[in-house]
Amino acid sequence: MAETAATDALSHGVDSRRGFLTILTGAASAVAAGSIVWPLINALNPDARSEASTRMIVDVADIAENTAKTVQWAGLPIYIRKLTAKQIADAQAVMTSTLPDPAEFTARVPAGYQNYVVVVGLNTGTPCALEGNAPADPRGDYDGWLCPCDGSQYDPLGRVRSGPAKKNLAIPRFKFINAAQIQFG
């Protein structure tokens, strides 16, 4: 407003006689205007409640082996599964070149917590929720997940093994903040 008009006008050919004092006044006014307006702009950044849901923390210690927990994050269903030792060994033994969408074991599980798999629970073929979280659910031939809509099958690491889907299940951004909790975002 008044101060920004001052700084604009002053920068367009100020008489050099005016000198230091006017430039100082203009600069100080610009600083004042900026620091008054900045909080208004910053207030429109995501508020603490949105940030908390974006950086959601989930407990994973209570997940039983061979079971998956479902949580909602960023509008997506997320499956967090704890693998059995046999599933880990089998997954590591698979030749990745035979997979429809090759991915190494280490690329699918978090470092240091390799018995956990965190994937977005949506089929990458026809968009559809997946079955296979509970041990009793139909899981297809690979003991992972099965899509009831188009029959795509995934292994316990969420890699696609057969069916119309061509890509592995997506992995959301997350990290383990301690042995019992993961944080998204």
Binding site: T22, L24, A32
Partner: protein, 237 residues
Amino acid sequence: MRRFFAPLLAMGLATAGAAQAEDTLSPLHFQSQGVFGSIDKAAAQRGLLVYQTVCASCHSANALHYRDLEALGLTPDQAASIAQGVKLADGSTATLDSPFKDPAMPASAFGGALPPDLSSIVAQRKHGTRYVYELLTGYTTAPDGVTMLPGHFYNAAFPGGQIAMPPPLRDNAVTYADGTAASANQEAADVAEFLTWAADPNLSTRHQIGLRAVIFFVFLSIVAIASKRKIWRESRE
């Protein structure tokens, strides 16, 4: 249930712990009062312990989230573990809700006296911080000639003198991690500081920025006046 994690919190405070608290009781003064006041975080942490151990069994603080407690110097882990201790599914994002699942219950159980929500109680009462302290330490025997209502207690600070809340604090109701003696008065002062923070979490920042803004605008006014005089003087030449 809430007493379960009070030792947990005490352990957490031990890692964040500082030296013994300074004596704020004689004379009574609060760091948060006054034009340049700021929240005494150590006192507020101790007050949080008292709040969770004693007050939270009846009162709610709905506007506070567990994640907000990080502003007192707790790590996100510690805040999350406090929330976990109360067994809330939402974790740190949950609010400090009433312990009563049925909203009508506390009023019916306490004869119509609903324990008020404490999120902004310090803002809602005149001289709120001092009022909370004086209320918590103001329980005395009723003077002659005063007939107490059934289920009420005499409190010198409460308007009307008769309060339905029983005296909540006693010596050593909690054990402070930083070694401060937990007399009833100390607990009252700490909980008053905690509730001052709860009502106005930005108090310290506000005063800090305010001081800088005032100094800056004094400087700007002086410079602007000098500049204006110079311009007008030159126009007369």
